[in-house]
C-alpha cells in the first residue's frame, strides 16, 4: 500500500520518535510513505491566531503540492496538521471568497481531491486484522488510556471523524494490539496545546488533570496521536511531579510505538529511548510476559 506523507514540523524535531516508530511499523506492514516534496509548515495555532487567510493558505499550498505530485491519500500523523489540512480543504470548498483570496495569494489554482488521513484512520485503512496477525508480544496485561485531545475530533462537522465527546476508534486499534483500553474521563480534554511555552502554568494544570484521571483509572500508559499532546504530557510531566510531590509517573506512548511493541520491534527503532518519562520499566514488564507466537 502507498500513501502520501505530510510529516509536519514536529515529526522532524521534538516528535522524532513519532516519525521513527510510524515508519518502522509501516515498513513491517508493507506500507510505503511518499513525502510531499518541499512541504511547508501548516501554520498550526499561530497562523489562525494571526490571520484567517494565512491559516487556509499554508495548508492549501501543501494540498496543491500533493496533488501535483500525483498523491491521493495523504497521511498527516500530527493531529494539528491533520486538523489544519482538513479545515483548509473545507473552507476552500465552501467559501468562495476565501478561495479566491487564497488562490491570489498563492498565485496558483486549487483543486480538491486529496483524502487526508490521521494516524488512526491510516491504521483503519491498512486493516486492524493486519495488526492482529503481526502480534509477537503479549500486551494483554497492559492497561492503556487512549487520549485523543482536541484536534483529532473537533470540529466534528468538518473532520467527520469519530465521536467528538466519546470517540472509540483509537480503542479499537489498541485492542488489535492486544492491550486493554481503560474507560476514563479525559480522552477529549485539552492539554493546553500551544500554550506550552507562553503559559506553562496552564499546560501543567490541564495536563496534570489528564494524567491523574488516567492513573486513577488504573492505566499503565497513556496512548496519544498528537505531538503536542505528547510533549505536554511527557516533557511537562517532570515539572508537574516536581511541583506536586508524591505523584506517580506514567509513560506516554505514541499509538505507532504501541503497535510496534506488539509486533516485537526493536525499542530503539521505535524511539522509545527518546522520552522524558522513562519507558524501560514498562518495556521490562512486557518482556517477562509470555510470548504468543
Amino acid at each position: 500500500m502507498n500513501f502520501g506523507y505530510y510529516p509536519g514540523c514536529s515529526l522532524s524535531g521534538t516528535a522524532k520518535e513519532f516519525d521513527l516508530s510510524l515508519k518502522e511499523v509501516l515498513n513491517n506492514l508493507d506500507t510505503n510513505l511518499q513525502e510531499i516534496n518541499d512541504w511547508c509548515c501548516c501554520g498550526a495555532s499561530s497562523a489562525h491566531s494571526a490571520s484567517h487567510l494565512l491559516s487556509v493558505a499554508l495548508p492549501a499550498r501543501n494540498l496543491i503540492l500533493a496533488k501535483e505530485q500525483g498523491m491521493k491519500d495523504v497521511v498527516a500523523p500530527c493531529a494539528a496538521c491533520f486538523n489544519r489540512l482538513k479545515v483548509a480543504q473545507h473552507e476552500m470548498k465552501t467559501d468562495e471568497h476565501i478561495r479566491t483570496k487564497t488562490e491570489e495569494l498563492l498565485e496558483t489554482k486549487y483543486s480538491d481531491g486529496i483524502n487526508v488521513l490521521n494516524l488512526i484512520s491510516l491504521f483503519q485503512h491498512i486493516g486492524l486484522d493486519k495488526i492482529k496477525s503481526n502480534i509477537q508480544i503479549d500486551l494483554s496485561k497492559l492497561n492503556a488510556a487512549c487520549y485523543y485531545g482536541c484536534l483529532l475530533v473537533r470540529p466534528h462537522d468538518i473532520l467527520k471523524f469519530d465521536d467528538p465527546e466519546n470517540p472509540t476508534t483509537m480503542e479499537e486499534v489498541v485492542k488489535a494490539t492486544g492491550a486493554k483500553p481503560v474507560d476514563w474521563n479525559f480522552k477529549v480534554e485539552c492539554c493546553g496545546a500551544a500554550h506550552s511555552i507562553a503559559h506553562t502554568e496552564i499546560v501543567e494544570n490541564l495536563s496534570m488533570q489528564i494524567l491523574d484521571d488516567a492513573i486513577n483509572h488504573k492505566a499503565d500508559v497513556i496512548v496519544v496521536a498528537c505531538p503536542m499532546c505528547h510533549s505536554n504530557l511527557d516533557m511537562r510531566q517532570k515539572n508537574i511531579i516536581k511541583h506536586n510531590p508524591g505523584r506517580m509517573k506514567i509513560p506516554i506512548l505514541y499509538l505507532s510505538q504501541l503497535i510496534g511493541l506488539s509486533m516485537g520491534l526493536d525499542k530503539k527503532s521505535l524511539g522509545l529511548d527518546l522520552h522524558f518519562i522513562d519507558t524501560t520499566p514498562l518495556i521490562a514488564s512486557l518482556s517477562e510476559k509470555e510470548v504468543v507466537v
Binding site: 487567510l53 498563492l106 465527546e165 493546553g192 507562553a198
Partner: protein, 182 residues
C-alpha cells in the same frame, strides 16, 4: 453579508467567521466546558455578550481572546451552532489590526516568534522559536532544565530544515498578516 448600518467591527467579525454573534442566547454552555476558563478574566459567553452590546473595546482588550487554547470544546457543544473559538480567532486578528495592545503579551510574542521561523525556513525551527521568544520576552532562563535533554536526544535540531520555496512563503505570510482577509 454587507450592510451599511452595521458597525465595521461587527461586519468584520461576521466576514471572518461566517457567523453572527447575535445568534448566541447566552446559555453559558461554552463557559461551563471551557478548560482554560479559570485563567480568563472574562468567560467566553461574556466576551460574546460584549460584542452583542457593541462593547467591542472590552472584548478586544480581554485576556480571554489570547488565552483561548483553540480546543473548540465550546464550538462543538453550542446548541446554537455558534463557534466561540472562531470568534476568539477573529478578535485576535482584529485587535492586532486595530493596534490594540494585547492583554497577554506572551501569547502574541510566541505566535510572532513561531511565524518568524516559517518566514525564514518555510518550516518551524524549534531552537530558533525558543531563541526568538526568549529574546522578545526576556525570559532567558525558562525551560533551561528541559533544553539540554531535548538537544542530547536529538529532539531539538541545531540547524533549521530550510525548504526551497522560502522566499514565496515569506511573501505569503507578509501579505496575509498585513492585509485584510476579506
Amino acid at each position: 453579508m454587507e450592510n451599511n448600518h452595521v458597525h465595521p467591527t461587527i461586519q468584520k467579525i461576521i466576514n471572518l467567521t461566517n457567523q453572527d454573534p447575535a445568534n448566541c442566547y447566552q446559555c453559558g454552555k461554552c463557559s461551563a466546558g471551557c478548560p482554560v476558563r479559570d485563567f480568563f478574566d472574562d468567560a467566553p459567553n461574556r466576551v460574546i455578550r460584549f460584542i452583542q452590546l457593541g462593547l467591542y473595546d472590552r472584548a478586544l482588550k480581554s485576556k480571554a481572546i489570547w488565552l483561548c487554547a483553540g480546543c473548540q470544546t465550546c464550538s462543538s457543544r453550542c446548541p446554537q451552532n455558534f463557534e466561540p473559538a472562531k470568534l476568539m480567532d477573529a478578535l485576535r486578528e482584529i485587535a492586532v489590526e486595530q493596534g490594540i495592545a494585547p492583554s497577554d503579551k506572551n501569547v502574541q510574542k510566541f505566535h510572532k516568534a513561531f511565524l518568524n521561523q516559517i518566514k525564514n525556513n518555510g518550516r518551524s525551527f524549534e531552537l530558533g522559536l525558543i531563541r526568538d521568544y526568549k529574546l522578545a520576552t526576556g525570559k532567558l532562563f525558562q525551560d533551561i532544565d528541559a533544553a539540554p535533554t531535548a538537544i542530547l536526544k536529538g529532539k531539538i535540531g541545531l540547524t533549521p530544515h530550510k525548504i526551497k520555496d522560502t522566499k514565496k512563503i515569506k511573501s505569503i505570510i507578509n501579505k496575509a498578516v498585513k492585509g485584510n482577509t476579506k
